[in-house]
């Protein structure tokens, strides 16, 4: 092997999976025809949110021609020792509205749906409690937060520092329940080949599912084969095992057939998780020159009766700004809701919305430019861990963003600009997202005269991983991209981490590089050669604080008659390590920013206090941004290579785009109108409060 001859990394390569996708040739989970004789599953969901099933009459459903089986908690296969939220059809207990209480398997999906309507379920129901309030007397601290973060962090005497601060703000921000809405609904095709469970599934990494599914069905990892080459978006909702995957395995077992399960859009609101609502109290203290003296961020959020999901909402506050006295806390209310899950930048997205809004309010209280206030409080080292940054270029992002956006001429006074009936304002907010890597393995098969087969159970959920990993492999092998035959998305490939936490490139890329290095000094014999490589977190995680950063700028217009909000332009600059592919990277940033805009203006799943269900559980009523909502978007990045963290010098880019974007829009809204709306989304009704 020779050294790299041509650099694919860093060049604008179009998606290698694009042509197959636009031609309809890239099979998504539900499209796997398998043996052409698949049968179909439909779900009976609980109409109550809390209580017990007192009876289920399935006789009418079973009598429908074409119905093969109706499973209930009375006769469904028993599952192994899996998390409580996954114990589907295992007891008469109902813990959330929409919980599956019976499963129909039929020859056609139409028959299955027809039969669902004929199952009669009676309940002993209780009124659910779905009300998240900061003054509940049953809030409790979870043992740990998701990601292993400490629940609370306290440095110094925060209350004394706040009391002594010449300038301070004390504000409470709220974010609502939000739901992931990838284009592809969750789908699983399952079949038992003897004692081997074969699945074609939409997920964020087949290996993510293996521990739960093997435990649920009492099989070994060798007895489970999951294939997931193409996934139509996920955002976190496909990271973990959900009940539909277990239902698919159960239904296939009972009927002995290949079973297809596809959730409806409506079902996704109760069965694949959501982002918890949050209530966040921010108290910031500062000297008149803007130097922060105290930062307090107290979070109240919810989890479910059947799971403890503790979103790490205030963890970004632990590192953003220097201040001698600091505190973050997280408290949970256990409510009668479905289990929450991760949604693009869990923790950072809601947490940085609140922090960056409060920082803007502090700037206003200080009479100081909000960019300048951030620059003034830039910490030299991680302020809580007391370790150096591997790289931190927030200052460059803020300066370049201000330049590109035209921030310099900004009139800081709120509510004084108009263009016709539009009130006009601008806002800024910072972004951050952790840089991490997870254990991953890769294999390369070299045969003279043939492309290198590079195998890793990585996952492309629409991010561009197919392309970026091929670029990385080509450079590592010193060959053109055409000489790389990448294989991903299969549990029989070398084990790799899932697509989540913006860790894909930093985890999978180094594993591929490690495998390629095994080939470098070796002659490939005529019969071929197979090498493996692995990568995982090293000392860097302890030695350094590693994060991507960014700065968002937004212009907002609010119609003074209707309260309608428009965002004609957004500028963002990111410092996110080496960019593998500018084209797909820009798409990731753009997608994150659009999702942040959607969070700012539109997204809210409303829990019905009486019935405990998400009342607006479809895309007609749960609004996500449309093309018409997105204006001019200016995206760039600073030159940054973080080789202290990983050999690629890359950072994750999937989530840093959403973080802070809602705050920039909220701050611009306040600048436009002179009024702070401290609970998302910024729907027109809130203008009339």
């Amino acid at each position: 092997m020779t050294a790299t001859t041509e650099r694919a990394v860093g060049s604008d390569v179009r998606r290698i999976d694009g042509p197959a996708k636009v031609r309809g040739l890239a099979p998504y989970a539900y499209e796997h025809e398998v043996d052409g004789s698949a049968v179909f599953v439909a779900l009976v969901q609980s109409t109550v949110a809390k209580g017990r099933i007192t009876s289920i009459d399935v006789s009418a459903a079973q009598a429908v021609p074409g119905v093969l089986a109706v499973l209930t908690h009375e006769d469904a296969p028993r599952l192994g020792d899996v998390a409580e939220e996954l114990l589907v059809l295992q007891s008469d207990r109902v813990q959330y509205a929409g919980q599956p209480v019976a499963v129909v398997v039929a020859e056609t999906s139409e028959v299955a749906r027809d039969a669902v309507g004929r199952v009669v379920v009676r309940y002993d129901a209780q009124r659910p409690d779905v009300d998240l309030r900061a003054d509940r007397d049953d809030l409790y601290p979870p043992e740990k937060l998701m990601g292993g973060f400490e629940t609370d962090s306290v440095i110094g005497d925060v209350d004394a520092a706040l009391a002594a601060a010449p300038v301070s703000v004390d504000v409470t921000y709220e974010t609502p329940n939000e739901h992931n809405n990838p284009i592809e609904m969750h789908a699983t095709v399952a079949r038992w080949d003897g004692d081997v469970l074969r699945m074609w599934d939409a997920n964020q990494g087949p290996h993510n599912l293996v521990p739960v599914i093997t435990e649920a069905f009492g099989i070994t990892a060798d007895q489970l084969h999951i294939t997931s080459p193409y996934v139509g978006g996920a955002f976190g909702s496909k990271a973990f095992t959900h009940v539909h995957q277990l239902i698919a395995g159960m239904a296939a077992k009972v009927t002995g057939r290949t079973v297809k399960v596809e959730l409806t859009r409506q079902q996704m609101f109760s069965l694949v998780g959501h982002r918890t609502p949050t209530i966040q109290r921010l108290r910031l203290g500062a000297l008149p020159d803007g130097t922060m003296t105290a930062i307090s961020h107290e979070v109240v959020e919810h989890t479910s009766q059947n799971a403890e999901f503790a979103e790490q909402t205030a963890t970004a506050t632990r590192l953003m700004y220097a201040a001698p006295a600091r505190r973050t806390t997280h408290r949970l209310a256990k409510l009668d809701v479905p289990a929450p899950t991760i949604m693009r930048a869990p923790g950072e997205a809601p947490g940085m919305y609140a922090l960056e809004s409060a920082v803007d309010e502090l700037a206003e209280a200080l009479g100081m430019d909000p960019v300048e206030l951030r620059l003034r409080n830039e910490p030299e080292r991680d302020p809580e861990r007391d370790v150096p940054w591997s790289t931190r270029n927030l200052v460059a992002c803020l300066r370049q963003g201000a330049e590109r956006f035209g921030w310099a001429d900004r009139d800081p006074r709120p509510g004084v600009r108009a263009d016709g009936r539009w009130l006009v304002g601008t806002g800024v907010a910072a972004s951050t997202y952790p840089t991490r890597r997870r254990p991953s393995q890769a294999r390369i098969e070299a045969v003279p005269g043939k492309p290198f087969v590079v195998s890793i159970d990585a996952s492309d959920i629409g991010t561009g991983a197919w392309t970026a990993l091929t670029q990385i492999a080509a450079d590592a092998l010193g060959v053109p991209m055409d000489d790389v035959d990448l294989r991903i998305g299969d549990s029989r490939l070398p084990k790799a981490s899932g697509a989540g936490g913006s860790t894909g490139i930093t985890s999978w890329g180094p594993a591929i590089i490690a495998a390629a290095q095994e080939l470098r000094d070796r002659e490939v014999p005529p019969g071929g050669l197979t090498v493996t490589g692995s990568s995982g977190p090293g000392d860097e995680a302890e030695q350094y604080s590693s994060h991507a950063f960014g700065a968002h700028f937004a212009e907002v217009r609010v119609d003074r008659d209707s309260g309608e909000v428009r965002v004609p332009r957004m500028t963002a600059v990111f410092a996110a390590g080496r960019i593998i592919n500018p084209t797909t990277a820009r798409s990731q940033f753009l997608g994150g920013m659009t999702m942040g805009l959607s969070m700012a203006l539109h997204e809210e799943a409303v829990l019905d206090a009486t019935h405990g269900h998400y009342a607006n559980h479809d895309l007609a009523e749960y609004h996500v941004a449309t093309n018409a909502d997105v204006g001019e978007v200016d995206i760039s990045w600073v030159d940054e290579v973080d080789e202290l963290h990983n050999p690629l010098g890359a950072k994750g880019i999937g989530e840093v785009g959403i973080v802070g974007s809602a705050a920039a829009i909220g701050n611009a809204y306040a600048h436009a109108t002179g009024r702070r709306v401290r609970d998302l989304p910024l729907t027109p009704d809130k203008f009339f409060r």
Binding site: G563, H623, P684, F688
Partner: protein, 336 residues
């Protein structure tokens, strides 16, 4: 979802005869609303009678200068029709404010009139809803009602069989209400003409019924009478996002000025009631008076005085007041 038969008739009378004999059947037009409701189990017809090719797809001139719109004219075609754009700008604007390009290609004019409410308690068969399941109560009054009615609703509490705060979702119908359109209807006993004011109804004590049509009656055409001064007209829709959302509040208005005096005016509201809401109180207050922002605002406030909002939709009252005022100001400022 229930199994159903699919039928075609050779002419409108045949379709009427077919459906009149099928008490649980339904007409199929563009299907953009009905098919969704069937998938959700909200609509459960046992037979669909396809009428898409039975009624006219033409827009014809009426002797008085008005237009007759065939019931099967697609929304997209109607919005693009030059005579509509010229004579009734508010109607073209209303059509383009509705749904998406794909849906407008598919949706018919007749079907647009008969859309069902998008109230989430109506579209969820596990929830109480007097409109879908008579007597089951109303989940919305104590639940999600941010985008429901503030005018003409029936609110006797969540368990009353009469309570209904649904809104009519159509944009087009708001413009047609302002234009005093009439609907030509074919029934088992022949043809009749229904003024659009009498087509849709308030929930009263029978929220299950959206319209005054009898089962089996088929809309064949919509007549829009001449209104020369409708060239100075406008449809303004306020919604939660820039496109593809139902109205929080919409205003269809036309203004006829005599110098700075209001000679005549038409105002209809969408998103606020069980039917398109003709703002007759405001019209009466304005006719013969000054065309000033103060007068427009006073008239709008008078119209909304009858509003009885709930906790989460009270914003619609000032929003509708503002939008009536602003729309009339813009029309007064526009050159005819």
């Amino acid at each position: 979802m229930r199994e159903f038969r699919y039928e075609k008739a050779i002419d409108p009378a045949g379709a009427v005869a077919l459906l009149t004999g099928e008490p649980e059947g339904a007409y199929l037009g563009g299907g953009t609303n009905l098919v969704d409701l069937m998938r959700l189990g909200v609509a459960t017809p046992d037979v669909l009678v396809d009428v898409r090719q039975l009624t006219s797809t033409e827009v014809e001139d009426l002797p008085d200068g008005g237009l007759r719109i065939g019931a099967a004219v697609p929304n997209a075609d109607l919005a693009a029709e030059p005579r509509v754009r010229e004579r009734y700008p508010l109607l073209a604007q209303a059509l383009l404010a509705g749904a998406s390009g794909q849906l407008r290609n598919r949706a018919t004019t007749g079907g647009n009139l008969l859309q069902r409410t998008r109230c989430t308690y109506f579209t969820d068969t596990t929830m109480p809803c007097n409109k879908r399941d008579a007597g089951s109560g109303c989940g919305a009054v104590e639940g999600l009602h941010r985008n429901l009615a503030v005018l003409g609703a029936t609110h006797e509490g969540p368990t009353s069989p009469h309570t209904c705060i649904a809104t009519h979702p159509s944009d087009m119908v708001v413009a047609l209400r302002a234009l005093d359109a009439s609907v030509r209807v074919l029934g088992a006993d022949g043809e009749r003409t229904v003024p659009i004011a009498e087509l849709h109804r308030l929930p009263g004590d029978d929220p299950a019924r959206d319209t005054t049509l009898a089962h089996g009656e088929l809309i064949t055409a919509i007549d829009v009478p001449a209104l020369p001064w409708a060239t100075r007209s406008r449809y303004r829709k306020v919604r939660d996002r820039a496109s593809y959302a139902f109205a929080l509040v919409s205003v269809a208005a036309a203004l006829d000025l005599d110098g700075s005096t209001v000679r005549d005016v038409r105002i209809a509201l969408g998103g606020v009631a069980h039917k398109p809401w003709r703002a007759t109180v405001a019209e009466d207050a304005l006719r013969g008076g000054p065309a000033t922002e103060a007068a427009f605002a006073a008239a709008a406030e008078a119209e909304l005085a009858a509003a009885a909002p709930l906790a989460d939709n009270a914003f619609k009252v000032p929003m509708a007041t503002n939008m009536i005022t602003r729309t009339l100001v813009q029309l007064a400022e526009a050159r005819a």
